[in-house]
Amino acid sequence: MAIFIDLLLNALVIGILLGGFYAALSIGLSITFGLLDVVNIAHPTLLILGAFIAFFLNSTWGIDPVLAGLIATPLFFAIGWVIYQIYYNAFEKSGAESLRGLAFFFGLLFIIEVGLIIQFGVDHRLVEAWYIGESANIVIGSEIDVAIPYRLLVAFVVAVAATLAIQVYLTRTFFGRAVRAVAQDMMALRLMGVDPIKVKRIAFAMGVATAGIGGALMIIVLPIEPSVGRLYIGNVFAIVVLGGLGSISGTLLAAIIIGIAESIVATFFGPSWSPAVSFGILLAVLALRPEGLFGKTAGAH
């Protein structure tokens, strides 16, 4: 019994921490795709770009990866700004964003990936930090020992802090409310004298900016090579949809639910079942609640 409790507690703790990590990968997409309806399929590759910047700063100057991610964040804000401006001028403005816009982001994905291969090569890269490969142990009695890997704890804390900051910004500030308004009714916003494109541009840039810190967390948690972002396209979109399009806190909670489900299944039923359970949860939730766990129904608008 003690072994079961030990495994369960460890699975829960790892699941919650893993959920925080998934949230860090998904939160930017929750803004760009969830709120702004821009299918930024290049988001995972932007995360890889963030990871490589963290790797470069860490391996060249020994800068802590989290700090490197924070340093890169303004750069990613600027990148997001430029990407949206191009996307708007070329596609959204003429109403051609649905298919051509998707092709645009696919193209962006390939260009970033090839650029990374040219610059850094194809080897797997890892960063060095004191918290990687170390863990804190909480011992209860003689048989229960909960290990908390610091690299996952760091990812969790940073992800939760970033999510809360974005949530507060979007709900408590004038501009944040404007972003939510642009997601609901762009025409109404325009009639009130606000430039919805400007609002969307800044919001999109915010979403992309999260790839700076998200990428740094990614390379803290797992080894990175230029194409690894493609593996996570399905996961991040699934988490955003599960949480409810446009719900930032919903994305965090959905990520934690997926993290816990994967961890418990991997521990008790075998890791090969983990992806099936994650997407099974997504299917079940969408069947019962098509707007996602925390999304607003059409009537609520």
């Binding site: 072994i3 990936e113 090569g121 194809v122 991997a266 090969s272």
Partner: protein, 428 residues
């Protein structure tokens, strides 16, 4: 004005997309020396991007070195050698199309495989249908189901590779620790599954009880729950069959969660790659893994391999190539893969695929990986896998891995440079 600007932006974007499409699909053909208008074309797919690109890129450089060597010597059958290759992106789905294109459009004369079982298996039906002699680079039991008589494997795992690959690891562990129980963790991929199948058979043959046997999805970001679940069964040894992402993830999980198992490792691909070795550093201490070539003083099985690796490292440095800086893992084998085919072509004196295959099957070859003789299913007639244990790694400096002492040879006994230590004795 805005519309003109938008149109220009569109044109640039389309240009960018076309450039990207070109990079991903254009044949990366190279002619080492334009000696003749009628070269012998050697075609292959290679993992130049994706999860196995760390191995694929160093294999490509090795094959290019072979082509240079051949052309300096006057080519094959007096004709220059030309390489035609495409990036399979470590995606098995791309492989059949690449080999069809190589044979139908590029009209290559000879084919060899890309790197790794997952990318050899999907090429087999094309090679069989076209009756081509097919050299496989690090294919784990890739011909077991096909039994194709013109397939030849460059993997020193013996006539039954699934068993032979891990047998030496089990011998080393059995001799030192006599484990009663074992956990087996494997990636859900062709190579790892074949390896796991052999490991399970070896475990039973050595009288070990398998207390945990699970596969993991290659996308798994964190391995601590898997290791926890395995540890809960209190195994004396843990055998791991993993690809690079999983190998690095499991090594980190071992550092964070730990284990009481005395022996850990076995079939972990990627721990031989320069980037991963440097990134993991001291976390590797204690892992006992397979390898094929390490810079130990007794490593004299392969005359010429050290010179080749020196040339590889010099080329990487001189041309600032973004590939594995060391090249120990794959360079000699990728070179031998084409070298043996080239030797057979020269000996036969033609490009007749039946004659080439007959010659390879009936003769022993001497290449940079020593003497090679093929047996059943084109596999090596005897295994020559090393068991090494990572020891005395103190930091993340890559240069330590090019010196003796960090990957000591446990088996084969005649070239052993160290003694297998319990996993936890080598942890800090």
């Amino acid at each position: 004005m805005t519309r003109i600007l938008a149109n220009r932006v569109r044109v640039w974007l389309l240009g960018g997309l076309m450039a990207a499409a070109f990079v991903f699909s254009a044949p990366l053909a190279t002619t080492a020396e334009a000696q003749s208008k009628d070269p012998i074309k050697v075609g292959f797919s290679m993992a130049l991007s994706g999860a196995l690109a760390g191995g694929g890129q160093q294999s490509l450089v090795a094959i290019q070195l072979w082509a240079e060597d051949m052309n300096k010597k006057g080519g094959l059958l007096g004709r220059p050698v030309e390489l035609v290759f495409y990036d399979d992106q470590t995606n098995p789905k791309n492989v059949p199309g690449i080999y069809s294109k190589l044979l139908d459009i590029d009209k290559v004369d000879l084919i060899v495989s890309g790197y790794g079982t997952n990318l050899i298996a999907p090429a087999m039906p094309i090679a069989i249908e076209r009756e081509m002699t097919f050299m496989g680079l690090f294919g784990m039991n890739a011909n077991a189901k096909w039994e194709y008589e013109k397939y030849f494997s460059i993997l020193p795992a013996g006539p039954d590779p699934a068993v032979g690959f891990s047998e030496v690891w089990f011998q080393a562990v059995q001799k030192k620790f006599q484990p009663k129980t074992i956990a087996v963790i494997a990636a859900d991929a062709e190579f790892a599954q074949n390896l796991k199948e052999g490991a399970v058979r070896n475990a039973k043959a050595f009288g070990m009880e398998i207390v945990y046997e699970e596969n993991y999805n290659p996308k798994t970001p964190d391995f601590t729950p898997i290791l926890r679940a395995a540890n809960a069964k209190k195994p004396d040894a843990i055998y791991i069959a993993s690809y690079p992402n999983g190998s690095a993830g499991l090594v980190r999980a071992l550092a964070e969660v730990g284990t009481d198992a005395k022996a850990v490792g076995g079939g972990m691909v990627g721990l031989q790659f320069a980037g991963i070795m440097a990134g993991l550093g001291p976390m590797l201490n204690g892992i006992a893994n397979y390898d094929f070539f390490v810079p130990e003083p007794t490593m004299n099985l392969y005359p010429g391999a050290s010179d080749l690796i020196d040339r590889y490292q010099a080329k990487v440095k001189a041309e600032n190539l973004k590939v594995d800086a060391l090249g120990y893992y794959l360079v000699p084998w990728a070179y031998a893969n084409v070298d043996i085919l080239g030797q057979a072509v020269q000996a036969v004196g033609s490009l007749d695929q039946d004659a080439i295959a007959d010659y390879i099957r009936d003769n022993e070859f001497t290449s940079v990986v020593g003497k090679v003789k093929f047996g059943k299913n084109g596999e090596w007639d005897r295994p020559r896998t090393l068991v090494v244990q990572y020891q005395d790694i103190t930091n993340n400096d890559l240069s330590q891995f090019s010196k003796a002492g960090t990957r000591k040879i446990m088996l084969p006994a005649d070239i052993s440079t160290g003694e297998l230590q319990p996993f936890n004795d080598l942890r800090k």
